[in-house]
């Protein structure tokens, strides 16, 4: 059930993100990019296999049983991807505002078709 929910969630996020990305207004594009980024982050997370209620970090005492832990690497990757995605989206937001100011239009080509 968790698998189904997660894959549906990723599908809906990325699907609507791609649709928005192909729209002509810059605001739609940036929202689309953010949605795709969320979908992709969930996707990376799911690549470490879905486990709930297990820690990713070893507690360091006694013999370690790997089966009792979840894969920490995708979690670290997601963290990095979130930070980078956040920064680049913020940067894009600035460019979007500059373009709006310079061209007087929020069309991606800087002028109405």
């Amino acid at each position: 059930m968790t698998e189904l929910t997660l894959s549906l969630g990723i599908g809906v996020l990325v699907g609507s993100g791609v649709w928005l990305l192909l729209r002509p207004r810059t605001y739609q594009v940036i929202v689309g990019l953010s949605l795709i980024a969320y979908g992709v982050n969930l996707f990376i997370f799911s690549m470490g296999r879905l486990r709930s209620g297990v820690p990713p970090v070893l507690d360091g005492s006694g013999i370690v049983d790997p089966a009792a832990y979840t894969d920490p690497v995708p979690q670290a990757l997601v963290l990095t991807a979130i930070v980078i995605g956040f920064a680049t989206t913020a940067l894009f937001l600035v460019v979007l505002l500059v373009a709006r100011g310079l061209t007087g239009s929020d069309h991606v080509d800087g002028r109405e078709p």
Partner: protein, 540 residues
């Protein structure tokens, strides 16, 4: 650990520290900032040269630097082999030229040019050095973030508009990059390139489709950056809108995409990859040929010189991708030679375009096109007595550089452009068994020759219209020596490559051999040992 062992990471640390340091000073102290930037970029050149010398030792394994002192595949590694050292050197050479050029006026054209320039170098160097897929993503983002800033450097409506397209396309490609990397991780459980090469042959049959999907998606991300058709429509606009020194630096940014394909394709999907061997090679070859054709048509159709240079970037990318798709050591060697030569040439051309454009009215270009199209009668002009045109010295020198660029781009003898294409073609025609030349090799041959011819035609047309018979008299541009010197340097490097073709070819041959037989690379990365910490040495 001696200081020399840390040389591997110096190409990342030095620009990082310099870039951060320069943020502390405001824009009014631009002389100081320029000096620091130049010193650091020259330092990079020295480091890159030392690394090339270190990598170019017969039979040596790749030099491996364990970040955080965790042995591979658990920690992230930096790897210096011949290919990465070559790319570092190329980056440093181009960076020095572009930086010196920018000192004439561009560096004052906006905020934080020097810091962004250094961060761009850090990202480029990191991408060339890293031996880890996710770390590659991080360095890609570093270089892209810096390039977004540089793309917009100088501001203006055109730059902002094309810069926005550039950013959106690259953000989209980054998402694909992440999906590809995580798919590969999900199947193999590792991100270390050398470890991947070991594990891919053992991937179970039912997971193989997923793995190949992952590599394909990852490939799409690289190919977007490399400007493969049909993922390249953002490129001509963005490159011709960028400021000249930035555009010159961008000519190596498409090569980062090519580098990633060149590194990963033989390593992960080479002969040893079992069922996935040579996955995607045919697609790469075909797409490369189409890119070359598209770029060639673009070169021929361009009226403005900056667009001509941008389409030349596409031709160069297409040639390299097609060559990588052939998956043959000889062709790859030719491709590497061509890569160095064409990157230097296109860098020089972007710088030159800015100087030449200065001699013309903005309206002159459009008028020239109109005059060509609507009959500017040659007969009428014959009344003018034929005494020959006197060229001002500046224009003569610029014209000479332009001729050299034309020779290099079209691959006419005697310069390095010719040698690169010759090496490519002679290797492409001798692949396969029994001297039978494959249809694809013929197609490659034809497209490469035709693209050279058309580049020649386009350059001649632009050259005649600009230098010999400008339809509208322009003004003689004021060219400073710091603007001319970098162009001369880049072109001189091409000449040096021609004269020293022997050693350079030997180097790229060795590079290509080790790319296609990556055992030394894999062995080197996986056998790198941790450095004992002082505590351990003291026996605690």
């Amino acid at each position: 650990m001696q200081l020399a062992n840390h040389l591997d990471i110096a190409p990342i640390i030095l620009p990082l520290v310099t870039g951060a340091f320069l943020l502390l000073f405001d824009e009014r102290r631009h002389t100081f900032k320029s000096l620091v930037n130049v010193a650091s970029t020259l330092g990079l050149l020295v480091i890159a040269w030392l690394l090339v010398a270190q990598a170019d030792v017969e039979g040596s394994m790749a030099s491996v630097y364990l970040l955080g002192n965790w042995a591979a595949p658990f920690g992230i590694v930096l790897v210096v082999d011949r290919l990465s050292a070559l790319m570092l050197l190329l980056t440093a050479l181009l960076a020095n030229a572009a930086l010196v050029f920018s000192l004439a006026r561009w560096h004052k054209g906006g905020q934080h040019f020097h810091s962004l320039f250094q961060f761009l170098l850090m990202g480029l160097n990191g991408a060339f050095l890293t031996g880890d897929l996710f770390n590659l993503f991080v360095f890609f983002e570093v270089l892209l973030a810096a390039s977004y800033g540089l793309m917009l450097h100088g501001s203006g409506v055109t730059r902002v508009r094309f810069g926005m397209h550039y950013i959106v396309v690259n953000l989209g490609a980054s998402m694909l990059f992440l999906i590809g990397v995580s798919l590969i991780y999900g199947v193999t459980g590792t991100l270390n390139m050398a470890d991947l090469a070991v594990r891919i042959p053992a991937v179970a049959a039912q997971d193989r489709a997923l793995l190949e999907a992952g590599t394909a998606i990852l490939g799409i991300a690289f190919l977007t950056k490399a400007g493969m058709w049909p993922l390249c429509f953002w490129l001509p606009g963005a490159y011709s809108a960028a400021a000249a020194p930035v555009a010159a630096m961008f000519s190596i940014m498409t090569k980062v995409g090519v580098y990633a394909v060149l590194r990963l394709s033989p390593l992960l999907l080479g002969a040893r990859a079992g069922d996935s061997a040579s996955f995607g090679d045919i697609g790469l070859l075909t797409a490369g040929l189409v890119t070359m054709a598209f770029g060639t048509i673009g070169v021929l159709a361009s009226q403005a010189m900056a667009r001509l240079a941008s389409y030349s970037v596409l031709v160069s990318s297409g040639t390299l991708l097609a060559a990588v798709g052939m998956a043959d050591a000889g062709v790859t060697a030719g491709a590497l030679f061509y890569l160095v030569s064409s990157t230097l040439t296109i860098g020089a051309l972007f710088l030159l375009v800015e100087l030449v454009d200065r001699s013309q009215d903005p309206a002159a270009n459009i008028l020239a096109v109109t005059m060509e199209a609507y009959g500017d009668d040659p007969e009428e002009e014959e009344v003018v007595e034929e005494v020959g045109v006197t060229l001002p010295a500046t224009l003569a020198i610029l014209g000479l550089c332009f001729v050299l660029c034309g020779l290099l781009l079209s691959g006419m003898p005697p310069l390095s452009g010719f040698l690169g294409k010759f090496a490519l073609l002679s290797a492409a025609l001798s692949t396969g068994d029994d001297n039978a030349i494959s249809g694809m090799a013929w197609a490659f041959f034809a497209v490469l020759i035709i693209s050279g011819l058309f580049a020649m035609v386009a350059m001649l047309r632009v050259g005649i219209r600009t230098f010999w018979a400008p339809p509208i008299e322009g003004v003689v541009p004021r060219v400073l020596i710091v603007e001319f010197a970098p162009i001369a340097l880049l072109l001189a490097l091409c000449v040096v490559m021609t004269i020293n073709a022997g050693p350079v070819m030997a180097y790229v041959d060795a590079t290509s051999q080790s790319l296609h037989a990556p055992d030394a690379y894999i062995e080197g990365v996986l056998s790198a040992r941790q450095v004992p910490s002082p505590k351990m040495e003291a026996g605690l």
